[in-house]
Amino acid sequence: MNFPILSSLILLPIVGALFLFFTKDKEGNNLTAKYVALFTTVVNFLISIYLWISFDQSTSSFQFVEDRTWIEGFINYKVGVDGISILFIILTTFITPLCIISVNNSVKNRLRDFLIAILIMESFMIGVFCALDLVVFYLFFEAGLIPMFLIIGIWGGSRRVYSAFKFFLYTLLGSVLMLVAIISIYWITGTTDVVQLYEIGIDVKYQNLLWLAFFSSFAVKTPMWPVHTWLPDAHVEAPTAGSVLLAAILLKMAGYGFIRFSLGLFPIASEVFTPLIYTLSVIAIIFTSLIALMQEDMKKLIAYSSVAHMGFVTLGIFTLQQQGIEGSIIQMISHGLVSAALFLTVGVVYDRMHSRLISTYGGLVSVIPKYSILFMLFALASLGLPGTSGFIGEFLILMGAFKDNFLVAVIASIGVILGAAYMLWLYKRVVFGKLINEDLKKILDLNRSEYFILSCLAAPILFFGFYPDPLINTIEVSVTDLINMHNSNIASK
């Protein structure tokens, strides 16, 4: 039991990256490099599955905890998982190998460096989800900026420099205030250990300011309206694999942070600021859905839909209801799968036509039927059709919201309709209609690896759509406990 399984999850991708780094960079080596990266990430995925199997669902305390002295008398390197974080770790280890398979044609030069960046990114992302010390969390949270900056900047599209800078500076600006808050917490309570902080609690008079400092970081990362503008830029310019990582996992760091830190550490401030979150979430849902309707660019449309979906997530988290929070977590997992799939589907046609504009396409169904079917599945999952994982999340969130605030729930429900509108309209314009563009007639349907990736994503979307129990069982106890802790904190105020 004492085997440091979480640390090995974090370290393994780095070992793979080092291995790649020390192999010679030749043209012929590209395939080998890809296999090495793939092997590493698949092994990591298997370890995380083992983690899930041996995870004890009946307790909410942290498991697989490792606690090592790191800076004497100050910070401990402490990692561990509970029901909430384990799902995100599995999401990370699941999406990364798919990303690596998908980098066929999109990344032409310096494939080896690209794989190294993705591997390092993976290890930082896993680190974020299992860190149980605020400083360790911050370290992983911020360190992820470096590989992502390079992924967007080196392998991105035409406006990549602008997007990479915007991404980096926006996120950094949000995060520095969190650093101030973390150090302040240390001086207020004498520890940065999350588990201890849950027990001690933080004095009410500091909570509001600290909450705002954390909020500034998470709001940028989520992203919430009005600081979401980096996301469409970053998504559009990043290579497909980068967009997938960004949408599927990076955005979830903030949602996870809201649950783990904002709710857990500052229960009273969370109560105080719920109206703020509701307002911003509802604006994000309605406003960005409307913007998404107007987009000409497919990637941009999906990026705005991500903002809207994350609006649902933040809404669900701050309902502070069992259903709301569970819904948010499932929505995050589902959105991780669906948005990854959507970006990959866009990537597929982009590789063939080198255009992301919706107007380039039309009538694809008669040329590439397999693609169209899978695209339909993902579009429907994105708009939350029953039977897909998207439905479970949105439904639970709205249920929680109706319990807490009727008006907000009603407005958010309008967002569901808008979501259906822009997704279906996108699908209609791209797949149906007349085949006008002559070039489209020559393109080929999904090749084997694309088919494999998209099926891999389609399977869990459908599976969890019909049978969400594995997810719910995993998170149930942890969420219940979180809410109990929250309520007892409020009561004792």
Binding site: T69, E142, L145, F149, L172, L173, L177, L179, I183
Partner: protein, 472 residues
């Protein structure tokens, strides 16, 4: 009888200087041997310093005018190691410009001697003597490439402005002496109390003089020009070694003679710190020359170092010393990269010259990437921890404004570091640079980059060494 062993390093280094001068005068073509001997001398001095003084907690000599304590010995060792590395990686550069002469190592040795005296000073006169010794050597070093207009200009500028600041400093010292009746730091400390208004003038003058030496805003004007004009190896020396000594003196002044006047100087240092952090970040954005950019970035870094000093706590002082140590390593690495930008006896120092470096020189640009992200303070690199410790100390005193301004200016500063990375990684490549660098240059780059990269694995060691320093 005084225990002269404690100042054996200073004695040894002065004797070496004299010997090297004589050797240089009497032997033809002695540049190479002087270089090697001076390296050897620094090495031995380092060892002596370590052996004789490292375990000393606090001893004073010569009527308490010289103090040997854990801070002075640590700072001396950092100074000596810095000086050693500067000297060892300079030779190729100097040979290229045909200024590989005996004066160079001798001047570096004498300025190091001056700094060591400064670091150990516990008396206004001893302090001033050390300061002038190092300054005079630095003036000459700045003009060392005298056939180049820019180098002469840099030296002259540095001389005029520095002499002015020394004047201010001396005036401040005389005021302090006038009010306290002594030049000894400890006696001054006992005599001074915050009642006397004119004393504040004395402190302000001294602080202005010191702020000039570490190029804190608004006394930074000399730095960009001098950094740009001086030969690159001298710039490297300017950027790291005198800063260590000046910071030590700063700490000594603030926390020994002026400890009781904390209300008077705290606002001044906060102002200097904030101004340096903000100005350093903003002014660097428009630069096109790497050396000028480094000048502005070092102004910013000095701001962070000062932020640690404001706190009036041992934690704060220690965090400043950690900051300056990590800063030394980062700058050493950065300049090693700069010295590698060479194509057939021609050195390049514009940011544009880095364009597309990652395609031709992947390893060099990877090192530079690590260094720049570290300078920007992105975790998990060493630069982040440096800032982290400083802000931890600052927040302990609940100075939220200082911390928030400081951290926001790191975001601004990140912009110009990112710009260099963008040019290296996202832009079109240019011609290749030469790769036949001296072994020492490669060594210093590799070691310092590895230190920066892997610092996070063993962060406690540095803290442990520094935690022996308890001034207050």
């Amino acid at each position: 009888m005084e225990n002269l062993n404690l100042i054996l390093p200073e004695i040894f280094i002065s004797l070496s200087i004299m010997f090297l001068l004589i050797l240089g005068v009497y032997k033809n073509d002695s540049s190479k041997i002087t270089f090697n001997l001076s390296l050897f001398a620094i090495l031995i001095t380092t060892i002596i310093t370590f052996n004789e003084t490292f375990s000393v907690t606090k001893e004073t000599l010569f009527n308490e005018s010289v103090v040997i304590d854990s801070m002075s010995s640590l700072m001396k060792i950092i100074t000596l190691i810095g000086g050693f590395l500067v000297l060892v990686i300079s030779s190729t550069y100097l040979k290229t410009f045909k200024i590989y002469n005996i004066e160079y190592p001798v001047l570096i040795l004498s300025s190091i001697l001056g700094m060591m005296v400064m670091i150990s000073s516990n008396d206004l006169i001893v302090f001033y003597m050390g300061l002038e010794l190092q300054s005079l050597a630095l003036y000459v070093l700045a003009t060392y490439n005298r056939d180049q207009l820019k180098s002469s200009e840099a030296g002259l500028k540095y001389f005029v402005l520095s002499a002015l600041s020394s004047g201010l400093l001396l005036y401040g010292c005389s005021l302090v002496y006038g009010f306290s009746g002594s030049t000894n730091f400890d006696i001054i400390s006992n005599q001074l109390n915050s009642e006397e208004y004119f004393l504040t003038f004395g402190i302000v003058f001294i602080l202005v003089g010191l702020a000039f030496k570490i190029s804190a805003v608004p006394f930074h004007m000399w730095a960009p020009d001098v950094y740009e004009g001086s030969p690159t190896t001298v710039t490297l020396f300017f950027a790291i070694v005198p800063k260590i000594a000046a910071l030590t003196v700063f700490i000594r002044f603030l926390y020994v003679p002026f400890l009781n006047l904390i209300d008077q100087w705290q606002m001044i240092i906060i102002f200097l710190s904030i101004a340096s952090m903000v100005f350093g970040a903003v002014a660097a954005i428009g630069q096109t020359n790497i050396k000028r950019l480094i000048a502005y970035s070092s102004i910013g870094h000095i701001g962070y170092t000062l932020a640690g000093l404001v706190t009036a706590s041992n934690d704060g002082i220690q965090s400043s010393i950690i900051y300056i140590s990590i800063y030394v390593v980062m700058n050493l690495a950065l300049f090693s990269c700069l010295l590698m930008l060479r194509r057939k006896d021609q050195y390049y120092e514009d940011i544009e010259d880095l364009s597309g470096l990652s395609k031709n020189h992947p390893l060099l640009s990877l090192c530079l990437l690590v260094i720049l992200f570290s300078l920007a303070g992105i975790p998990p690199l060493a630069g982040f921890f440096a800032k982290f410790y400083v802000f931890k100390a600052v927040l302990e005193q609940s100075m939220y404004f200082l911390a928030i301004v400081g951290l926001l200016s790191t975001v601004v500063a990140a912009f110009y570091y990112l710009r260099i990375i963008k040019i290296m990684y996202f832009d079109k490549e240019k011609d290749k640079y030469d790769t036949d660098h001296s072994l020492w240059l490669k060594f210093s780059l590799t070691v310092s980059t590895i230190l920066i990269l892997l610092y996070f694995i063993f962060p406690s060691q540095l803290i442990e060494v520094v935690s022996r320093i308890n001034i207050i």
